[in-house]
Symmetry: C2
Subunit: 279 residues, 2 copies
């Protein structure tokens, strides 16, 4: 299978590595507006060939769009305009606006909307790593709107990694993503800013930071080029979850002020239920 990756970054590059390693891809073609990233991907042998997205598309069996979600909005209709028997799949973190955009496209059936739920706080081809997706879940959105052979190719691709598939509609995906991914990033960015602000006066504060602090602010290293477009597209759901999160923090604040530590204790016990979910 000839795989084209448009956007040879952390996600696209890591997918390329996995699909080559497991034999699903016989050839990987890379396309990227950033010529330096393409060169690096070639030198690291993450891709076999670099070319423009149009030239790559004409050779590909599967074309994977692994660019930020604002770039997907621009690129996807153009790709679908030129598509013939190829299967086009995106790996973006939002789904509603992307699907709204191509609902009426004559080649809509060639497209499969997906979101592999994996990634790190790092970006760029330098951050492409093996095994990033192994045994994680990938969301497939409104799969019934894709033609059967396209559905099959994408399912085969994710199964080859292997990843487990979850089927959701666009709204359910964006709501779930806000809860289990987007709010974590908002929270980390905010926590990093809060503590960095303090650091201006207290230079040595970070000597004392333990691994617990590192864990909660890890995602604050994430790129705004990736995340601002996500927050823009999933604004309403992110706002809903953010409101709930601020309310929970405000409840903690009020319990501290009133010194109601028994109630606070019970809430922490409740939060501990997360143990059964995270290993």
């Amino acid at each position: 299978m000839i795989i084209q990756i448009i956007g040879v970054g952390h996600i696209g590059g890591s997918l390329a590595i996995s699909l080559r390693e497991n034999g699903f891809a016989s050839k990987v073609i890379g396309s990227d507006l950033d010529a330096a990233a393409l060169d690096k991907a070639l030198r690291r042998r993450i891709i076999d060939e670099a070319c423009s997205w149009k030239d790559g598309l004409s050779q590909a069996d599967i074309c994977i769009l692994a660019v930020p979600v604002d770039a997907i909005l621009k690129l996807l209709p153009q790709v679908l305009d030129l598509v013939d028997q190829q299967t086009v799949v995106d790996v973006g973190s939002t789904k509603e606006q992307i699907l709204n955009l191509v609902d009426q496209h004559p080649n809509r059936g060639r497209f499969v909307a997906t979101h592999p739920m994996a990634g790190t706080e790092y970006s760029g081809v330098e951050a492409a790593i093996p095994n990033l997706f192994d045994h994680k879940h990938t969301v497939i959105c409104e799969v019934e709107k894709s033609e059967p052979d396209a559905q099959e190719k994408v399912a085969d691709m994710y199964r080859s990694i292997p990843m487990k598939m979850v089927f959701l509609d666009r709204k359910a995906h964006d709501l779930h993503a806000a809860y289990v991914s987007h709010i974590s990033h908002i929270s980390s960015f905010a926590l990093a800013l809060t503590v960095l602000e303090k650091e201006r006066d207290e230079e040595r504060i970070f000597e004392l930071a333990s691994s617990g602090f590192g864990s909660t602010v890890r995602l604050a290293k994430s790129s705004p080029d990736m995340w601002i477009p996500i927050f823009r597209q999933n604004r309403d759901h992110v706002l809903d979850v953010l409101d709930e999160h601020i309310n929970t923090l405000a409840k903690f604040r009020s319990l501290l002020i009133k010194q109601e530590f028994d109630t606070f204790y019970k809430l922490i016990e409740e939060a501990n239920r997360i143990r059964k979910i995270l290993e």
Copy 2:
């Protein structure tokens, strides 16, 4: 050196492992109100002998208080009442109330207040692990109030692990700890509650949780028995930092509502400065 550990849990047990392994301790005596924990510590050979804290103290060179910070408030004055040439050291996450309590104690000089900045979200002797403290920082509080031989013994102990020492007064310690440790826990507990609340309706939400989510809520597994006493004792600093954190989140909320994504982008770039601090 004969080391007594009062409170054979995650921190006390891990310290015992390190101090035995590196040869600093010739014998480790464990004391704990929880008989089952003591048995387990004996069977795991984390301690050589189990006895009451009073019996242990009479044999020990260094007595380490590794109990929750509310128990330190109760126990420390009693230990100092009985102390002769022994060195007493606590490893609690707060310092101001503990030091206020013993300022006037006739044996104050035998006590060294410390806070090794390490730990995980797990608790109990089952969570005692090797190398937990290696190359981390430990805060020594108002060291000048400890007698020279006690200072020396505790410094030798931490250097043997090896840990780096940072010297702070009680107020500076509690402020710093609020920023680099306590607020991370508050944030994780709140995030876990926010998402667990949603899970009641959406059972499958956690299938989609990626490692990023796991990272930000990891600390929400932490025990309320340890954390409520910390929040109680460090309430004022925790409230200050929590207010700042809520303000930052409210700023994000307002930027989302007004769709001021350029400003939001700049704030994320600023948050990215955390990269230079965390490896």
